[in-house]
Amino acid sequence: MSGLEVVIGLEIHAELKTLSKMFCSCDASFGGEPNSRTCPVCLGLPGVLPVLNRKAVELATRLALALHCDIAPYSIFHRKNYFYPDMPKNFQISQYDLPLGIGGYLDLEMEEGRVRVGITRVHLEEDTGKTVHASESGRIHDSEYSLEDFNRAGVPLLEIVTEPDIRTPIQARMFMQELKSIMEHLEVSDCKMEEGSLRCDANVSLRPQGSPQLGVKAEVKNMNSFRALYRALDYEIMRQGDLLASGGEVVQETRHWDADSGVTTPLRTKEYAYDYRYFPEPDLVPLQLDLSFIDGVRAGLPELPSQRRSRLQEDLGLPEHDAGLLTSSKALADFFEAAVDAGAEPKAASNWMMGELSAHLNAHNIEISEVPITPAQLAAMIALIDKGVISGKIAKSVFEAMLASGNDAETIVKEKGITQISDEEELVRHIEEAIRENPASVEDYRKGKEKALGFLVGQVMRKTKGRANPQLVNELLRRSLEGEG
C-alpha cells in the first residue's frame, strides 16, 4: 500500500420528506400494504402526465444551497432508460446534463485538519419500487421469481455526487454523518439508512502518490449503515492494494458489499449493462427558478450543524469533542439543548448523553426519539446530584431505571429508598465501625499512607450499600482518625 493514494467519491441518495410522490399525489410515506399507494402515473400506465412536486424542488434547493452549490437558472428532466422489474415505466425520470445544483462543497473537521469535499451535483429523480425475493426455501438464490411492491416507486429522491476528494474510510463516514445531520437540520429527509431513505454508493480507486490521473475504479454498493460504509471501503482498499502489489490490475466493475462475510464481490460489468439512452422527458417542462425563489429558500435556511457546533462551544462552553458528537444528529442536539433549557448544567448533560444515554441507545439499537424520558427528566436527575440527594454513582442506577420505566428520578429514588446518606450521625456510626474493624489500615494511615484512607472510605460505602455521600465520608473519616490520634 505504500506509495499509493486512496481516492474515494460518494454517490448518495436521499428520499425527500414530502407528503406526496414526485410526479403524482400518492402517499409517499414508508411502508403500507404492498401496492396500496400507487396510481396510473407511478405505475407507468399509458396516457398519463407527471406533474412536478413543488415541495420536492424546494427541499432540493434547500440542500443544494446548504452545500454551497450554484442553483442552475435552467434545468430539465431526462428519461433514463433501462429495464428492471422495480421500475414500472422502464425508465426513471432523472436529471442529466442540467441538474438543479452544481459545484458545491462540504468541509469536514478531521484530526488531520479541515478536509474540503467538493460536491459535483445535486439533482432530483424518482425512487424505484421494492423487490422481495421469493422462493420455496426462503433463499434468494433458489427463488424462481421476485415480488414487486410499487409503493416506493415515484417517491422523490435526491442524488448527491461528490468529487473524488475523499482519502480515507473515516473521512467517508464523517462525510455521510455530516451530510445526514445537515439534511436532518434542513428537514429535507428522514435519513433512515435502515429503512433505505438514505443510501450510499462509493467509487474507490488507488493511484501512485502524486499522480494527477485517477486509477481504475470499482463502484461499491449495498452499504446500509455508517459502519458498513467504513468496513466496505476498508476492505475494498485492501483488496485493490493487494491486487496491484501482486502485479494485477483493478477491473472497472460494480461490487456488492456483503456485511456477513465482510467482503465485496463483483455484480456486473459496466460497459455491458449501461446504455441509458437519456433523452429530455417530453412530459415535464423545464424548471427555471428565479432569484426571488432561490433567495427565499436561502433566507429560510435554519442553523446548520457546523454553526450549531460553534454555538454549543462558544455559548455553552462545551469542548469541541462534545459539540461534534452531539451535533452528529439533530435529535441528539435537540435533546441536549432542551435539557440545558430545563436547567441542566451543559457539561453534565453532555456527559450523561454521551455516556450512559448513548450506551443505552447502542445496546438496544434504538434512536433517541424512542427513549421514554424527556430532556427535562434528565435535567431533574442532574439537579438531584447537584443537591446531594443522590451520588453520581447511585445516579447511574437511577438513570438506568428511568430509561427502563420512563419514571422521574425523584420517584425512583423514593420508591427504592436510595437517597444519599448525608446525615452525619448515621455516617459517623458506620465510620466508627469501620475503624474498629480495620486497625491495620488505621495504623497505616497514621504512618502516613494516604491509600489506607481510600480503603476505609470504601468500607463505609460498602456498609451503606453505596448510599453514603463520599465527600462527607472522606471528611468525617479524616476528622475521626486525626481527632483520635
Partner: protein, 93 residues
Amino acid sequence: MIEPKDVEYVAWLARLDVSEEEKEKFTRQLGQVLEHAEKIKSLDTEDVDPTSHAIPLKNVMREDETGPCLSQEEALSGAPRTQGGYFVVPRII
C-alpha cells in the same frame, strides 16, 4: 452507416424480438431517419438555442398534497401474475 448489428443492439436494449426480415427493413428505415438528421445538421444553427421542449411553458408544478390512490386490487388488475398483494416478476438475481 447503420448496420444490422446496430439494429440488433437497439432492439436488445428495448427488449424487442426482431425477425431477420424486420432487421433488414429497420436497417434501411433507420438509415433513412439518420440521413434526414444529417441533412438537418447541415443547417446553420449558430443563433438557435437548443430546444428540449416544443411548448413555451416552464415551472409547471403541483402543491405537495396527497390524493386518492388505486386500491391494491385495481393496481394489480392488469398483472399476469400476482401473489399476496405483489406483482410477480421473473427472478432478477
